[in-house]
Amino acid sequence: MTTAKAQKSVPPHPMDSLLRTERIPHIWCPGCGIGTVFSAVLAAIKNTGWDPDDIAMVSGIGCTGRMAGYIRLDSFHTTHGRALPFATGLKLAKPETKIIVVSGDGDLFAIGGNHFIHAARRNMDITVVCVNNLNYGMTGGQQAPSTPLGAKTTTTVNGSPEEPFNFCNLAASCGATYVARWTAMQVRSLRSSIGEALHKRGFSFVEVVTPCPSSFGRRNRMGTALEMLKFYHGRSVIRSDIDPKDATMDIDREIVVGKFVDIERPTFMDHYERINRAKMPQWLSMHPDHQKTR
């Protein structure tokens, strides 16, 4: 039965040119919000008009990390939490490549938290899209650094005793040049924020509050995927340009969305070039035109 289904011709999708279509169907659960975020990422990439050969995606481990396996770009599915340092090496070796890191809240802020802090501090020219689904989805729904106080997960059956991070505030305080948050329902704003983030020179960060109906939703009696989506959307309040520390992320009260940071700051490479050129006027950057092939 499934074979017959798979053989049925599927109409082309507008994003097919950016997809490894031979890898579809994907592994994400029905109702998962990652697909929405993924198509926003694809649309934003397409809208840039850049040559796809000049864009690379780097991901860590987890449900969101699997995006790298479906996008038809140079794509790197690395170890848990290490997408950012891998992307740092890739970016510095190939500065002309635009790099987008996609990963989950657990990957980026628990196991990879230190790397996030330092990549933002250095202002590495990388765009980070974080799918925040409030738990570890891939492993069946455990407590994450985003899990709301009191929320149930498989490792906090009586409710989480920890207060979560506010990722946007963290990103801003570490030096990110672009910070925005949307829910997975606000597709248009999300797409345009990812687009702005891609065009931003420096460390740009977009958080997407995304339903995980199979794990987080089910354990916290949040209803169907659609109900979860509507719930997050209903809790959201658009407050752009406010102080990121006032950008509350609390599913019981309000989810403040919008663009909170959009500033200019020299990147790691800007400083590296400036400082070295001051000492060595003929200094050659890592640009491939300057590289001797050995």
């Binding site: 396996g69 950012l84 590289q291 050995r294």
Partner: protein
Amino acid sequence: MLAKEVKTGIHFINGDEACCEGAIAAGCRFFAGYPITPATEVAEAMSRRLPEIGGIYIQMEDEIASMAAILGASWGGVKSMTSTSGPGFSLMMENIGLGVCTETPCVVCNVQRAGPSTGLPTAVAQGDMMQARWGSHGHYEIIALAPSSPQEMFDFTIRAFNLSEYFRIPVLLMADEVVGHMNERVVIPREEEIEIINRRKPTVPREDYLPYEADPDGIAPMATCGEGYRVHVTGLTHDERGYPVMDAKTQEKMVSRLVGKIRNNRDKIISTKNLYLDDADVVVVSYGITARSAMQAVSNARKEGIKAGMVKLETVWPFPEELIRSLAPQTNAMIMAEINGGQMVLELERAACGACPVSLVSNFGGSILHPNLIANAISKMAKGKT
């Protein structure tokens, strides 16, 4: 004027600096690291030298990040390296596995100090030899070299890059505190005299390229980021396309090739320096700084009329088991000299396979082995059997 890439000439430098010059001569243009005694001087030298020649030095937040960054840089098409010591080497293990699984050329220099844990940060040991072998999880083969002098730090770093580029694998340079910190004469040859091997590139059109389809020798040509091949690279078990496939058949096929490309090319990788083996009754096997004590002991024994010989392991992994297997039956005894509780001696015993007695001369780290200690073992073994 830009600085010279290859500092041809005669230098008096320490092993860590020689490692840096070897890396640059080999074409390394990216270094990510984290300070740690006794490897800090490699990073310091790199931080001075790389900017001079258009390369990148970045100090990462830890060794996990350093290892991840050099893998990323390698996929950006740039030869890359990091250096560390025991505690940092432990942190690098997971991403060394990623490098093995994704077949990413890069070099990791471990200037070993005494452990376990923080141990003796400023004192010598060779306690990470088995960690080098299988410190990352899962089954794999690795290439590791053990330099005995600053000159070999230079020479072996170049060889480490060449092996990593050819076999598409992280190559470990297992140095030690004494080799790293001692100053000696280092001769850097002319640029044109240095053999450089670069990774194999795809020759097929984009649409026909399969990133993990190997040539008959088990090595797959490597397209890197931005070359239009749209590679997918994952640490999951993957097929020739680089796509994850979660079954035992794909696992068997992938790991067989990863293991096979090293095992089946042992003759291209393994390198030993053999001394007086033709008539040796007692053979000392050693590596790194300890090989120099061993060499002194062997030559003292010869002066005393004992037929001692020596195998200096230049590559420690893969282990030269064929050589040991052929030597053991013609030898009265073998001795492994190393600064740990007995690690490579296990390989020696395995390869000798009972054909001759094998003994260990060692300490747990903190000081090098005095040649007399090894000489005593040689005369004891010589008397015991002849």
